[in-house]
């Protein structure tokens, strides 16, 4: 057993941390919250030059052939820095789905452009029912000549407003099990009939409503096979869930460090507030939550890397990390007192992102249901 990082992974972490500390200060993060696009193209270019977009893609597509665990480490640092922008949508969601289920031609066409930073993609999954099961896919795609015609509404789609392409899950068959009638489409974001509205969210993270009205998609743009889109989701989506956990852990770690530093410096009643037992206990609780979250994330990530069965661990990770990071970022606020309630402070950046991350890809109740199902099936 070895629960540590390799030398290369340590280097990746340190490089990423230093780079983001310099290139993604909190002033940029706050600026991007108000910005229409929501990210800095200059920073995006620099990230591409560092090879970050290509980290998990095979070398034949221009990537560096890294492991899923490598990506997790990078995402932890991105969470720590509150990195704004479409890296997650483009690389983790869409890139991995294309890698997993796209035809070789589609991989050749798209992955190198993702690696070079020349493409931004968004993943349109959830609908107004706000559920992540196959049965929740109600958007329809009807065959018509050489195309499919898509109608439906997708919600909470990160970065759709700036995307070149939208990967869209739509139902192509009604009969049979829900899992067997879904198709994954690569939709040109400029197609007529697409209406995109940026929703105003607690984390200012550019989640969009995307309405498809008679949107024509060529049959050649089906990713994988018709009616078999869900099988791609089953393989690739868990990676996105665990990647989101890693982002949350990075944010929680930052909140913990900020709070401990503050508790050491802030003096009241002639002593640092960190010398009071109540504050010490808060900080200790934060540490327990952060460390536990990290390891459950790493375990799920390692099992994914090793191609081991991982359904239970993914949902355990998401459920646990969502709640733990909520607790940690909340305590961060509590320890910082009044100053944390000011816009000038950075504490709320983590609190708000923890909330958004908690909702992403299924909330705690949803994932607990999966854990319970897996547990009960096994006993």
């Amino acid at each position: 057993m070895d629960l540590g990082l390799t030398e290369e992974q340590e280097m990746l972490r340190n490089t990423a941390r230093d780079f983001l500390e310099k290139e993604c200060p909190k002033s940029l993060v706050k600026e991007m919250e108000e910005d229409e696009k929501g990210y800095s193209p200059e920073l995006w270019r620099k990230m591409a030059e560092l090879g970050w977009m290509g980290l998990v893609f095979p070398e034949k597509y221009g990537g560096s052939g890294g492991s899923f665990l490598d990506l997790i480490i990078l995402l932890e640092e991105m969470g720590r820095a509150c990195l704004p922008g479409p890296f997650f949508s483009t690389v983790v969601l869409c890139g991995l789905h294309i890698l997993t289920g796209g035809s070789e031609q589609q991989r050749q066409e798209l992955l190198p452009k993702i690696v070079s930073g020349d493409l931004v993609l968004a993943f349109a999954f959830t609908e107004p029912s706000a559920r992540y099961e196959a049965s929740a896919i109600a958007a329809r795609a009807v065959a018509d000549g050489d195309d499919f015609v898509i109608n439906g509404t997708k919600l909470f789609v990160n970065d759709a407003h700036i995307a070149d392409y939208i990967l869209c899950l739509a139902r192509t068959k009604d009969s049979g099990p829900a899992e067997e009638g879904i198709t994954l489409f690569l939709v040109d974001a400029k197609s007529p009939g697409i209406e995109c509205t940026v929703l105003e969210t607690i984390a200012d993270d550019k989640q969009c409503e995307v309405v498809f009205s008679d949107v024509r998609v060529p049959k050649s743009k089906v990713v994988g096979k018709v009616d078999q889109g869900w099988s791609i989701v089953e393989k690739a989506f868990p990676q996105a869930i665990v990647a989101k956990c890693a982002e949350l852990v990075g944010g929680a770690q930052a909140a913990l460090e900020m709070s401990v530093n503050y508790a050491k410096e802030r003096v009241q009643f002639d002593r640092p507030i960190g010398s009071f037992q109540a504050i010490q206990h808060h900080c200790a609780n934060m540490l327990v939550d952060v460390d536990g979250s990290r390891f459950i994330t790493y375990e799920a990530a390692w099992k994914i890397s090793e191609r081991l069965p991982v359904t239970m661990e993914v949902s355990m990770a998401k459920a646990w990390v969502s709640e733990a990071c909520r607790r940690v970022t909340f305590l961060g606020h509590h320890i910082h007192g009044g100053i944390g309630f000011c816009r000038d402070s950075d504490v709320d950046l983590y609190y708000r992102r923890a909330k958004a991350g908690g909702y992403a890809f299924g909330d705690t109740t949803f994932h607990h249901r999966i854990v319970a199902r897996e547990l009960l099936q096994s006993v």
């Binding site: 959830t126 107004p128 029912s129 706000a130 559920r131 919600l155 909470f156 509205t197 929703l199 105003e200 969210t201 607690i202 984390a203 409503e209 003096v267 009241q268 009643f269 002639d270 507030i273 009071f276 037992q277 109540a278 504050i279 909520r326 909340f330 606020h333 509590h334 007192g337 009044g338 944390g340 309630f341 000011c342 816009r343 000038d344 402070s345 709320d348 609190y351 708000r352 909330k355 958004a356 909702y359 992403a360 909330d363 705690t364 109740t365």
Partner: protein, 395 residues
């Protein structure tokens, strides 16, 4: 034992309810701001309403009529606050501040100060701010460094306050300042009423995390305050402050307001589809609604206890900390639980497409962070309960 109000009290409640139903501006429910949010429009409307309540004598109802009140009993005060919260009447922080200031003036102010200030406060004619917290004095309020130095007929004030709610709109500042730096810190504090227009006062906005201008930094540079505006005796300020805390309100507005919030959430659950039925059909949602409703009822009773003790002529101290602490916890719990029930929609802000309940919970999730920090942190409240309520030794 009797949990009901008397016939007279219920008749008074009906009178208050009728008046509020007639006087609450219809537009208020549309424009009312969220927690820790204020707009020019909401401020103007709330101030107008405050003044009308002042004219009615119900703004500072406990004051005698010559100061703008109706000599209201503690129960009557409770009823006024309950009805205002239940009907969502406009309110601002001015009221809470006015209560503290007025209570202290009544006990310790000179006759001149009472004659000058109490009618203005009682009729809601003026806006007040509290000059308490400083960058170096939060929980440790006695650590204030803002100095007040005697100079002839005046005191000269230098220093800085922070998190000063409403300073940008205030007519007067209720200021805690150090008049003697050479004694133990609690023994060198005085209270002043400072006119905000006095030369040397600078108000700098602090934008909060709900992106609103609600509180400020206030800088005092050689601000001259007449001796007549020193409240009570020099260096006795700490004793006055702690006594004023005994005029703690029941805090009934919180559970009453939260009752409305839970009701709105329950209605939403009944009318919104979830997984195979409405949200309200989901046993998990039912558990969450039940927990919130139960906690809130417990809170309501803890607030009633404070008012009941006062009505018997007793002075609640740790009992007020109990209801305040519990109220903070309930507020945060409701904010969290509401967000859970709403699912991903909970994160949508007021004004966003698809935002449920007008973005109520997104705002509450952020605003509720203050409950447990401001007005005495949860840690301080727990200490007070342990020391004063349970006689546990100080560490």
């Amino acid at each position: 034992m009797n949990f009901a109000f008397s016939k007279e009290e219920e008749a008074f409640r009906q009178e208050v309810r009728d008046w509020l139903n007639a006087e609450i501006p219809p537009m208020w429910s549309e424009i009312r701001p969220g927690m820790w949010v204020e707009t020019d429009e909401s401020w103007a409307m709330a101030r107008e309403f405050e003044r009308r309540m002042g004219e009615k004598g119900w703004w500072a109802a406990n004051y005698p009529p010559e100061y703008g009140g109706i000599n209201a009993t503690f129960m009557q005060q409770l009823i006024i606050h309950e009805e205002r919260a239940a009907l969502v009447a406009p309110s601002t922080w001015n009221e809470m501040i006015g209560q503290w200031v007025g209570a202290t003036l009544m006990l310790y102010g000179t006759e001149e100060q009472k004659r000058k200030y109490l009618p203005m406060i009682g009729k809601a004619e003026v806006v007040l701010c509290l000059g308490y917290s400083e960058p170096g004095a939060g929980s440790d309020l006695a650590g204030v460094q803002t100095r007040a130095v005697e100079d002839g007929d005046d005191f000269v004030i230098n220093g800085q306050k922070i998190f000063t709610t409403l300073a940008h709109n205030a007519d007067y500042c209720w200021l805690v300042a150090r008049t003697d730096p050479n004694v133990p810190k609690h023994q060198g504090i005085s209270l002043f009423l400072v006119e905000m227009k006095t030369p040397g006062i600078t108000v700098r906005p602090l934008i909060n995390i709900v992106r609103s201008h609600h509180f400020n930094e206030v800088f005092f540079d050689d601000v001259r305050v007449p001796r007549a505006d020193l409240v009570g005796e020099k260096n006795r300020g700490w004793a006055y402050l702690t006594t004023a805390l005994n005029f703690e309100r029941s805090g009934i507005a919180l559970p009453t307001g939260m009752n409305r919030t839970i009701t709105e959430l329950a209605r939403y659950a009944k009318t919104t589809l979830g997984d195979g039925g409405t949200l309200a059909d989901d046993p998990i949602v039912q558990q969450k609604l039940a927990e919130m409703a139960t906690e809130n009822e417990v809170l309501r009773l803890l607030c009633y206890r404070v008012a009941w003790l006062q009505s018997k002529g007793l002075v609640p101290s740790w009992e007020a900390s109990v209801s305040f602490l519990f109220g903070n916890e309930v507020l945060r719990h409701i904010a969290r639980t509401g967000m859970e029930i709403l699912g991903p929609y909970g994160q949508l802000k007021r004004g966003s497409k698809w935002a449920p309940l007008g973005g109520l919970f997104e705002n509450l999730y952020l605003g509720s962070l203050v409950g447990g920090i401001g007005g005495g942190s949860n840690e301080i409240q727990r200490n007070l309960i342990a020391h004063l309520g349970l006689g546990l030794p100080r560490g």
